[in-house]
Structures are given as structure tokens and as C-alpha cells.
């Protein structure tokens, strides 16, 4: 099965609306990393009336806390973390124009609904496949919250990042569809 090539940040809505749960994709372009602590802080900033550390419109966030890079390497191992821990903060970010997320595991109903309303997409990557995925990361730049260490926000350039569409704009959930198909 061939993978659908996706360029990010997104430029047109049709690039998102054409995606269906279960599509295998290859993602190219620039994305941001953030996980638990960075999400908490971003939302605290918003509540305090401050701006986010980067323009979130049309962007994709990758839920990851990489291992430290070895000397000479661009990045350490960098597979997805469990997305549901970010659910509490996600609708706020989607309302501000975030268009894509990469992680692993289920999203809660609020997020699934917000993905639908905001015409966004949630991609699942293979958890634990961190050494392989790190080869798709070509450049890393610190953006904000450096004190959070592995949890800091970084801007990363990716080429041929393998993922699967889990939640699409129709409210479909590939994890649920897959289980239904194979459950005996």
C-alpha cells in the first residue's frame, strides 16, 4: 500500500478534508514538539493573556519527549507518547488554529469533536519505534521552555515521517474501526 504524501504546515483545508481514518501517510515539512509540561504551560500562558511561543495556525504538534542526541546526531530516539494526556489542553489549541497532531493512542470525545468542528486531523505513529522514526528528523531547533528539558518545545524538520490517520474530520476513529474488523 502506498503512503499519501502530506506537506506541513498545511496550506489548504482540502489537504485535511481529503484524509480518511486508516490512510497511511508520509509527512514532510516543519512541525513542533510538545508534551505534558509544555501543553500545561502553553495553556497557562493563554489564560494569563500571554501569546503562545509560536504561531500555531495550520501547524502540526508532535507529542514527543526525545532522548538526548548523541554527539554528532541531530536528535536522539523520538517516538510518539500517549496522546490522551494532552486531551485536556487540545481543544483550546485546535480553536486557535492547530490543524494536526501526531501521537499514539485514543483521544477523548471532546478532542474527537473538536477535530471535526475545526477540520483538523490526528495521526498515529508507531509507539516504541523511536530509533527508526528519529531518522525522519533532519533538523531540530529550540523554540521555548528550554528549562523543561526533554519536554521543551522544539521546531523540527521531517522527511518521510510514517503515520496513519486515526481521527478524521468525519469523526471516524481508525483504532475503533480496526478493532471491530479483527475482533472475533
Amino acid at each position: 500500500m502506498s503512503r499519501i504524501k502530506i506537506d506541513v504546515p498545511f496550506k489548504n483545508e482540502s489537504e485535511i478534508t481529503s484524509l480518511n481514518a486508516g490512510d497511511q501517510v508520509s509527512i514532510w515539512g516543519t512541525i513542533y514538539t510538545a508534551r505534558d509540561a509544555a501543553h500545561k504551560r502553553m495553556v497557562e500562558h493563554l489564560e494569563a493573556g500571554k501569546e503562545l511561543p509560536f504561531d500555531i495556525k495550520n501547524q502540526v504538534i508532535y507529542y514527543v519527549g526525545p532522548t538526548p542526541a548523541k554527539p554528532g546526531a541531530v536528535v536522539g530516539s523520538a517516538g510518539p507518547t500517549t496522546s490522551t494526556r494532552m486531551d485536556k489542553y487540545t481543544p483550546t489549541l485546535l480553536d486557535l488554529g492547530l490543524k494536526g497532531m501526531i501521537g499514539k493512542g485514543y483521544r477523548n470525545q471532546d478532542v474527537v469533536d473538536s477535530i471535526k468542528v475545526n477540520k483538523a486531523v490526528y495521526f498515529g505513529a508507531v509507539g516504541g519505534s523511536a530509533a527508526l522514526i528519529s531518522r525522519a528528523i533532519k533538523k531540530v531547533e529550540m523554540v521555548a521552555f528550554e528549562d523543561l528539558g526533554t519536554e521543551a518545545i522544539r521546531k523540527i524538520e521531517i522527511e518521510d515521517f510514517p503515520a496513519v490517520v486515526i481521527n478524521d474530520i468525519e469523526g471516524n476513529d481508525w483504532y475503533k474501526m480496526a478493532v471491530e474488523e479483527y475482533c472475533k
Binding site: K70, G124, G128, A130, A131, L132, Y182
Partner: protein, 280 residues
């Protein structure tokens, strides 16, 4: 009385931390390969092949197979005729973790306080269980336990009348709730009996057994196989992409319990089932 030196423990722990994270055990690799042959779903097969490739990259480049390099959990069998010289066993283990994680470019994943949540910056303290055993050896079992699967683990105090059926239902329900979050294919560790804390410990301890090895108690081995069969009918598949490989293995450990009790604990391990052993 045999003497084991502090520094030898430090060094041995440091290299175990690195090896566990870089080199997937042969037991798990073989289980991946068998599963890839048998998996019925196309995407499930793709995930398994990706995991095999990932493990190969990790061991050839000496980089962690997963970015969550885990809580370092130790089960130490301390021979009662073994004398540790030069410092405390706990300090030696933590120093080994500190060195291993720093020198090995492994991630620091421990916060000092569950409410304030400040990273300790060296992956300590580790979790150390010590069992006093006959003899004069010091045997250290190490595991790097990721957060994703640990978070989906559960314990329930069942009633004796719930019986085997209740036990099985609780295990299946746990795997089902975990779904893709725990990074299947899983190793499902089950503790049955004991009391509240013994039961949880048994489930954890069972995960230190090699994947593919059955219990030496016949009725437990049978139970492991039955549960494995049922789990693999759930359809979750590798990484939740659907399929027949939801678990690589199921491990069950039993302990005597109270006449009124039937505790069951399910400690899930993801496919990055990283464990090493050293004898000093």
C-alpha cells in the same frame, strides 16, 4: 562469606541500563518474527516489521529503541551469605542508573514529587525490590519500564466467588481499555492472590520472565495459554492497528491469599520489553 564491591555493582547496573535500552532481547525479537509470520492484518504486519527494523537500528547504532527509557526497576536476589562492601546497595544501584543514563544518552523520566513534578535530572531514584535468598550470589534483574503501558495497568480486589471467570474478565477488560495506548503487542503480567501489594509485585515480577517461557506449574501454564488465546481474539493488534497479535505473551504468578480475598493485578508491558540480568 563472599564480598561484592560497591563499584562493581555500580558498573554492572550502568551497563545493564544501556544494554536494556539499546538491545532488544532475543526472546522478544523471536516473538516479533513469529508474530509477523502469523499476523492476519496487513497494517499489523507492517507495524511488526517496523518494530523489527527499529530494534535492528537501535542495536547497530547503540541508541535507545524507545524514547521512553523508563523507570529503572530492579529485582535483586541477595544471597544471605553475600556481603556488600564499600557502601549501600541502594546507593550503588542509583549511582549505576545515574551513570548509565547519563553516559548512554538515555532520557530522564523521573520527577521528584508527584504533585510538584520537577525532573530529578538523572533518572533516579530507581525502584528496587530486594529478595533475601539462600547462597552467596548477588543477582540483579533490571528492567526499563515505560510509562505508556504502566499507566494502563490495573488492580482489583475480586471476590472468591468471582473465580477464574472473574479473573479472566478483569484481564481482558484491562487489555481492552489499554487498547493502543499501551503500545501492543503487549506482555501481560498477572499477579493473582497474596494481598494488595504482593499481588501488584507478582504482576511486575512476572514480566521479568523471558517472553515465550511458560510457567513450570502445569495449571498456571494452561491458564497463561488460555488468556493469551482470548487476548489475541480482541482484535486490537500491533499498535492498535487491528489484527491477531495483541499480546506476545501472558505471564501469571500466584501467591497464597486470605479466605475472603481474590486480588488480581495486571501489569502491562509494551512490546519494548526490556530486561537484563547480572550475577555478581
Amino acid at each position: 562469606m563472599k564480598e561484592v564491591h560497591y563499584q562493581d555493582i555500580v558498573n554492572s547496573v550502568a551497563s545493564m541500563c544501556q544494554d536494556a535500552n539499546y538491545e532488544l532481547g532475543e526472546d522478544v525479537m523471536n516473538a516479533f518474527k513469529n508474530a509477523a509470520k502469523q499476523e492476519v492484518s496487513f497494517m499489523g504486519k507492517e507495524v511488526l516489521n517496523q518494530l523489527i527494523e527499529n530494534a535492528n537500528i537501535a542495536s547497530s547504532d547503540r541508541v535507545p529503541m524507545c524514547q521512553d527509557t523508563g523507570v529503572s526497576v530492579f529485582i535483586v536476589e541477595l544471597g544471605q551469605d553475600c556481603h556488600i562492601v564499600g557502601g549501600s546497595l541502594y546507593d550503588a544501584i542509583n549511582e549505576g542508573v545515574r551513570n548509565g543514563y547519563e553516559e548512554g544518552y538515555l532520557r530522564y523520566s523521573i520527577v521528584d514529587d508527584p504533585i510538584h513534578r520537577k525532573n530529578t535530572g538523572d533518572n533516579t531514584p530507581s525502584v528496587v525490590h530486594i529478595e533475601l535468598v539462600p547462597g552467596d550470589d548477588l543477582v540483579i534483574h533490571m528492567s526499563a519500564k515505560g510509562g505508556g503501558a504502566e499507566n494502563m495497568s490495573r488492580l482489583q480486589m475480586l471476590k472468591p466467588s468471582d473465580g477464574l471467570e472473574g479473573i479472566k474478565n478483569f484481564i481482558l477488560e484491562t487489555v481492552q481499555i489499554a487498547g493502543p495506548n499501551a503500545c501492543p503487542p503487549l506482555v501481560v503480567g498477572v499477579g493473582i492472590g497474596g494481598n494488595f501489594e504482593i499481588c501488584a509485585y507478582l504482576a511486575k515480577k512476572s514480566l521479568f520472565r523471558p517472553v515465550g517461557e511458560r510457567s513450570d506449574q502445569q495449571h498456571v501454564a494452561k491458564l497463561e495459554e488460555e488468556i493469551m488465546n482470548d487476548v489475541n481474539k480482541l482484535g486490537i493488534g500491533p499498535q492498535g492497528m487491528g489484527g491477531s497479535t495483541t499480546a506476545l505473551d501472558v505471564k501469571v504468578e500466584l501467591a497464597p491469599t486470605h479466605i475472603a480475598a481474590l486480588p488480581v493485578a495486571v501489569n502491562l508491558n509494551c512490546h519494548a520489553s526490556r530486561h537484563k540480568k547480572a550475577i555478581l
